[in-house]
Symmetry: C2
Subunit: 199 residues, 2 copies
Amino acid sequence: MRAAPIPAFSPGVTRIQAEFVRECVEVFADAVQLFGVPRSVGQIYGLLYSSPLPLSFSDIVEQLRISKGSASQGLQLLRELGAIHISDSKLNAPLDKRDARQAGGAPGSAIHTAEAGRREYFEPELSLRKLLGAILSERMAPLASTSVNRLTRLRELADQVGDGNDFYLDRVKQLNTWRKRLKAALPVLGALLGSKGGR
Amino acid sequence: MRAAPIPAFSPGVTRIQAEFVRECVEVFADAVQLFGVPRSVGQIYGLLYSSPLPLSFSDIVEQLRISKGSASQGLQLLRELGAIHISDSKLNAPLDKRDARQAGGAPGSAIHTAEAGRREYFEPELSLRKLLGAILSERMAPLASTSVNRLTRLRELADQVGDGNDFYLDRVKQLNTWRKRLKAALPVLGALLGSKGGR
DNA sequence: GCCGTTGTTCATTTATTCTTGAACTCCGAT
DNA sequence: ATCGGAGTTCAAGAATAAATGAACAACGGC
């Protein structure tokens, strides 16, 4: 088990809000692990999900207390999956945020002076369909790419066995059926998750 | 990367059959990894899947060249998942197998004299629905059990924030929607995999 | 152009998971 | 009862995956 990830306290954020963030971070950290995605990546998504304003790279590093390396790789993966995107309001976001911070906060550990440079801000993608669709197809890709070749090879071998009964051919046929069903089921799943009918 | 798992040669089995087995073992070893199931467990299933006759514990250990510990744990998991079951013909299976082996084989490395004791024989489950259903629900269980409590907690926190807009409440609502959709989608997926319509 | 800052890459360290092997229990046969 | 093989458990080792941090590259402002 790992030490509970406790986001750093940011100025201008109430204790309740911080608690909300922490809970979200953990929820997503746990959830993504079920899909084989590293915990820290879920943390990043959870943080963005619970933030009213887009966050920058360094916000994430500071609040999650993770290394720049982890943050960079995690953000990269999330972008590849389409789970987050760069805020289009490159200009507004930082300004809004500075206001928000100044508004409520104990300015003790000062936000560094210059909020300058090529800083980018990230927002979470909120479509469940896109989120899961990307993860699933990413994980299915390697299987799909090799499975056809392998089944062909198995079929050849089964033909050569030539024992009395059709055991080997039957098994190959069944594998093929399974593959087809899986292939057919995935799009349907996507449709279900995208629909509004889940009540 | 790991050394290719090469099943040991068994008497009474042609080279082609051995090749078929090896290919199956690898196919399932790779496939199960996508669902977070250990490779060796997939190997065991693949071996059983490609065997015309039920296999015993020691058959598995010998042919896959894995330790008794791995075999035991792997078989246990597969049984929990309902992916294999103990051959009901506790009496027939071993007899059949001895016949089969004697029939074709170079009896050089003799099958040990006494086929005795409480030896059990395993067969693979062939229903895709059962196979995947068990894996999926096993992996979803931890999420499902905690998610309701966590969402309740998040809702409480969101109520307490009370900033001008409904940002936090909206996020909680969306999480709830996602949860419901996932819950609704899983049974449908099961139905799809069990149907005959996948052609 | 330079300079300070932002973000990336990658070898190393750290943490987690898987496998092994040996001691042990269980069961059936004698 | 006891003997021998069948199967399980678990601590220790090996293999794999993830996180770190420091060196590096990219960008914007001046």
